[in-house]
């Protein structure tokens, strides 16, 4: 039994198929997103009135720490990862990622790491030092309980997942592109993902080092962050933000990639300024490593350093502005189709701009001294992360759900989701600009009345409830449509890139025949050949493409598209096609399903969690857990590495 069945729990536990792993990422990350959202609702309920009494100081601090940590590491990053997994191989015309089992491992590490960190709620000691975890507050002297241990170990675990995935995707994109897909023909989402993987590879080691220091301080009595022993109190801040600022781009660039897919499709027009979009993405990522200290203007680094970081920060606004202008001019002169996905994408263009521009306001060190650590900042980065990342991800979900599931999401419910989110998001976060300017600092669990903050906080709270309510529409829509939505067919949107040339959901081997690519918009070339006769780079006659809109065609070079076909409602199929030829029948070697990556991940996490017992004064038990887990992990790792990936090639 080479391939296993495609249904049942076991098939999900053992899958190495990038599409199924992407689906797992999607639903897991949405679950964590709901948890982070629930934490946000509690925070807003606490702050709705002055002197709120719902949460005490300790629980409130845990709540905002876990809200931030969850949204960054357990929701938005993995939501992006869901798209990396599902889309990158499809967009570049590959059958899977370079290392399918490593891919499964990344997912399981993420899942177990997320569960590990949230188990802290059950012992009442959830992380409470903020998502930024400034030392020395997070050292043993000031945080002696398990809270920070959960946080440090949890982030280390999640870092393993991100790094493994990043190397995997870099290798995939460099090595596995279909013939003819040179770098400047890659879809923009793949491009932005490519950039993000490099950000991950370069930024995560920095936070890893910072966390290793903290871990050693906490567990083994070293003094990396002990001021009395001569530590530099700013060491943590520098290391954290050298990671933390590129992290912002790790969170936003995938969303930029998604809307760069959505806007052209629904404007019926190629992306305006494709090469400039590529280069500005790279430039944003590059400059992103040189601006970290704009998070630290209040520490007083002196005018020279302040000015340099200020200039670098202002510079980032330029490539970011270029992206915004290019999106706007992608729509200009097109024919716009206002689907829900398009609405979310347009919302990103507007709302992210607000966050981007208020970012420019913090780039001035002097002005930032009045803004930093106030609610003005909270407003700013929620416009970036909700108005930007989440709006982009929602656009991506509505756009790609048909490819994930073979079914369309309901546009009607989607419209409710969009408009309630749009209103809710602005009602929540816009008043925060004003509460911040009225002097309200962040991370306070209570405030006195009559400081001019009451109305703004009440508005933010009502907005947050509305936003939470809106998200239920998405959940309902997804659950309802997963089996009951309109059948999508290969290409419900008339989109240009390769993933739409194959069935929805795609067969496990993706492409029966690896396509040959001769332009940036392979499907548009196929489906509207009359439109591209003028286009020089597609003028290669019959040879220009091998993509077959049905995914089964293996013929020699003649494009057999279905011009109106898949994109018009009339000729849309009435059932989801699942009886493709199997990989075996086509003679395509597929990787064996395997449970080993799951066990390697599981025992890696139990190994880390054994460290908690050290602080429970059970050194013997801790050693037993750690050593047993390490042995099991190594054993399963060897078993994984010594078993063949796929059947012998015929």
């Amino acid at each position: 039994m080479a391939y296993g069945s495609n249904t049942g729990l076991w098939s999900w536990l053992t899958t190495v198929d990038h599409k199924r792993i992407g689906t797992l990422y999607l639903f897991t990350a949405l679950t964590f997103f709901m948890m982070g959202g629930f934490e946000a609702e509690l925070i807003r309920a606490q702050l709705q009135h002055p002197n709120g009494r719902l949460l005490g100081a300790e629980v409130y601090n845990q709540m905002f720490t876990m809200h931030g940590t969850t949204m960054v590491f357990l929701a938005i990053m993995p939501l992006s990862a869901a798209f990396f997994n599902f889309l990158i191989p499809l967009q570049i015309g590959a059958r899977d990622v370079a290392f399918p089992r490593l891919n499964a491992f990344s997912y399981w590490v993420y899942l177990f790491g997320g569960i590990f960190m949230n188990l802290s709620w059950f012992v009442g000691q959830a992380p409470n030092g903020g998502w930024f975890g400034y030392a020395p507050l997070t050292t043993m002297a000031y945080s002696p309980l398990l809270n920070i241990d959960f946080w440090v170990l949890g982030l280390q675990i999640l870092g393993v997942s991100s790094l493994a995935a990043a190397f995997n995707f870099i290798t995939t994109i460099i090595n596995m592109r279909a013939p003819g897909m040179n770098l400047m023909r890659m879809p923009m989402f793949t491009w932005m993902s490519f950039v993000v993987q490099f950000l991950l590879v370069l930024a995560f080691p920095v936070i890893t080092i910072a966390l290793v220091f903290l871990q050693f301080d906490r567990f083994f009595g070293t003094n990396f962050y002990t001021i009395a022993a001569g530590a530099d109190p700013l060491l943590w801040q520098h290391l954290f933000w050298i990671f933390g600022h590129p992290e912002v781009y790790i969170l936003i660039l995938p969303a930029f990639g998604l809307v760069s897919e959505v806007l052209p499709t629904f404007s019926r027009k190629p992306l305006f300024g494709y090469p400039v979009m590529v280069y500005s993405g790279m430039l944003i990522a590059f400059l992103g490593f040189g601006v970290w200290a704009h998070h630290m203007f209040a520490v007083g680094m002196g005018p020279i350093a302040d000015t340099m970081f200020s200039l670098a920060t202002m510079l980032i606004a330029i490539p970011t502005g270029v992206k915004i202008f290019n999106w706007i001019f992608t729509m200009w002169g097109g024919n716009i189709n206002f689907t829900v996905s398009m609405k979310f994408a347009i919302a990103l263009v507007g709302l992210f701009t607000i966050g981007g521009i208020s970012g420019v306001m913090h780039a001035s060190p002097t002005a930032d001294l009045q803004q930093t650590d106030s609610y003005f900042i909270v407003a700013h980065f929620h416009y970036v992360l909700f108005g930007g990342s989440m709006m982009g991800i929602f656009a991506g979900i509505y756009y790609y759900f048909p490819k994930f599931s073979g079914r369309m999401l309901s546009e009607k419910i989607g419209n409710w989701h969009f408009w309630l989110s749009f209103v809710g998001m602005n009602l929540t976060f816009f008043p925060m600009h004003f509460s911040g300017l009225a002097g309200m600092p962040r991370r306070i669990y209570q405030y006195d009345a009559n400081q001019g903050w009451d109305t703004y906080n009440a508005m933010s709270s009502y907005g947050a409830y509305l936003l939470g309510f809106a998200t239920l529409f998405l959940v309902y829509n997804m659950l309802k449509s997963w089996h009951g939505g309109a059948v999508a067919g290969n290409d419900p949107w008339g989109a240009p890139s390769l993933e739409w040339s194959i069935p929805s959901p795609p067969p496990d081997y993706n492409f029966a025949e690896i396509p040959r690519v001769s332009s940036r918009y392979p499907l548009w070339d196929v489906k509207s050949p009359e439109l591209t006769t003028d286009v020089p780079h597609t003028r290669e006659g019959e040879k220009r493409i091998d993509v077959d809109a049905a995914g089964q065609h293996v013929g020699g070079g003649k494009a057999i598209g279905n011009p109106a076909g898949a994109s018009s409602g009339a000729s849309r199929p009435t059932h989801v096609e699942r009886n493709h030829k199997t990989a075996e029948e086509l003679g395509i070697p597929m990787p064996y399903p395997t449970i080993k990556p799951l066990f390697v991940a599981l025992f890696m996490v139990t190994m880390f969690s054994g460290m908690l017992l050290i602080h429970k004064d059970k050194l013997g038990l801790a050693l037993a857990v750690i050593i047993t887990s390490a042995m099991l992990m190594t054993g399963f790792l060897y078993a994984w590495l010594l078993s063949p990936l796929e059947p012998e090639h015929h």
């Binding site: 001021i227 109190p233 000015t307 200020s310 024919n335 420019v360 002097t366 009045q370 650590d373 991370r443």
Partner: protein, 315 residues
Amino acid sequence: MFEPAGPQAHLILQLWHLIAWTCAGVFAAILLVLVAILLRTPRAPMPAAPDLSTTDKAEPGPRRSVATAVVASALLLLALVVASVFTDRAVARMSLVDAVNIELTGHQWWWSARYINGPVSDTFTTANEVHIPVGRPVIFTLKADDVIHSIWVPRLAGKKDLIPGRTASLQLRADEPGVYQGRCAEFCGLEHAFMGLQIVADPADRYEAWAAAQRRPASEPADAQALRGRELFLSQSCAMCHAVQGTTAGAQHGPDLTHVAGRRELAAGTLPNTRENLQAWIADPQKHKPGTNMPSTPLSQADLSALVTYLETLK
């Protein structure tokens, strides 16, 4: 934004207005173009064929627009950097002639302020309420005792971090008398929300009178109950952390209480300073500020009353 009451906050406010209006203008322009394009672009029926005419052709119109927008935003950004640098210089160059020197130390979760002007004998220490003279510059030397804190008095100046093991400096001046609310702006643990600081700007004569009073040790209690209160203060755990100048209590782990009765608030902005609140605070600090380092002191009602009577004499 906050109504400025001193030159530092005023300069920052001017800069802020410039930046905010520039940014608002840019956003309005982008939004206008976006909305105009959305309104003017025709709607497409779903299966509309894509328009690929632009694939490899230059689009001179949009290209010019984007290039213009990029150049314009670069110039605006540069202007903002220049304005910011000049504001920073102006803030740094405030005259410090005749300045008042105060060493401000952040603790979890309160502030101690040591006035270090003139001879050593003139030095005095207070907590959570800092009086400054109107119209005279003040140099705060910033230190931290445990973790990183940050001082923020929005109406007077921007933030500055108080970093353990380091010394920083913040200069400001209040040009109008008044009480300026300040607080810790860097998350510093459990009770970060209740780490308030009041800056009270007094006219020169009132400030001098206040400072002179602060320099004096605590006055001798007049009545028997207050005397008993002092005995309790010195014999119970109070004296292990707090100082009252003129008595044997000299510990510096908690706020200096030599003139505690003259302050407006208790426990760094947690409670207004009234007799009832003081009594309730001593009886059970954990109820009002959970996690504060001050433990509950088991005292009989009579003892508690005597202790509070004594503290009330520390004007």
